[in-house]
């Protein structure tokens, strides 16, 4: 399961289904990175979109790389907005935390990085759906492993005609 999560398709490769593994890997990678190409670096956003973030993380290495990129940009925005750590943790009140989030958003908007409708929905749907279809592949690989189904299943054959008997 861990293998299928970290690299989409790796679970099927491990189960000696290389064609399916390649299709899964390419399709999930293309879908996820299409979402990032549409929405930019801020598509994966843990603070503001936790549910989409959870779906993004199901893509394994793709989601982790994107989160790393987003984190670097977000940290730079925090530095440029001259915010203190207490502004972001909200220890001094929810109002101050909201104001800090607004300042970060403004810094990102100045740099043309902030996601706005309708691009945000499309980008997050692409990246999130890539994660959800990888969840399907993770479960499939786990079930096949539990059943001991290694290799491609035997091809369905046409029923024998009475004349052939």
């Amino acid at each position: 399961m861990a293998l299928a999560w970290i690299v989409p398709g790796a679970g099927h490769l491990y189960l000696r289904r290389p064609v399916r593994a390649a299709i899964i890997f390419i399709t999930i990678a293309v879908t996820f990175w299409a979402g990032i190409a549409i929405g930019g670096v801020m598509t994966v956003d843990r603070e503001n979109e936790p549910w989409w973030f959870a779906a993004d993380m199901l893509t394994g290495v793709h989601g982790l790389v994107s989160w790393g990129r987003q984190h670097r940009v977000q940290e730079q925005a925090i530095v440029d907005a001259k915010l203190t750590p207490s502004d972001q943790t909200g220890r001094t009140g929810a109002g101050r935390q909201t104001a800090a989030a607004q300042e970060i958003h403004e810094v990102l908007a100045e740099r043309n990085l902030a996601l706005v409708p309708p691009v945000d929905t499309v980008a997050r749907a692409y990246a999130g759906v890539a994660g959800l279809i990888n969840l399907l592949c993770i479960f499939d690989a786990a079930m096949l492993a539990l059943m001991g189904a290694v290799g491609e299943p035997p091809r369905p054959t046409a029923p024998e005609s009475p004349a052939a008997k």
Partner: protein, 74 residues
């Protein structure tokens, strides 16, 4: 308009364009779902095509149904 750098800046896009982007997403879902479910990989292209058509037609029917509901519901 500011320059768009793929994978960094959000793509400039109109609301009309957004609807068309559901097609590649449906294709992607159909591809992975059928890759997992099919018994014979050689039949995969046809099965993916059928599921894709099924999904798109289903979405259109759902969209028209909801539009009619919004338009004619008292």
């Amino acid at each position: 308009m500011m320059a768009w750098t793929p994978f960094y800046n959000p793509m400039p896009m109109s609301s009309a364009t957004v609807l068309w982007l559901v097609l590649p997403l449906c294709a992607s879902v159909a591809m992975v779902y059928k890759t997992v479910r099919t018994k014979d990989v050689r039949r995969l292209p046809w099965e993916v095509l059928w599921l894709f058509v099924y999904m798109v037609v289903g979405l259109i029917v759902l969209g028209v149904g909801l539009w009619l509901l919004m338009k004619y519901w008292p």
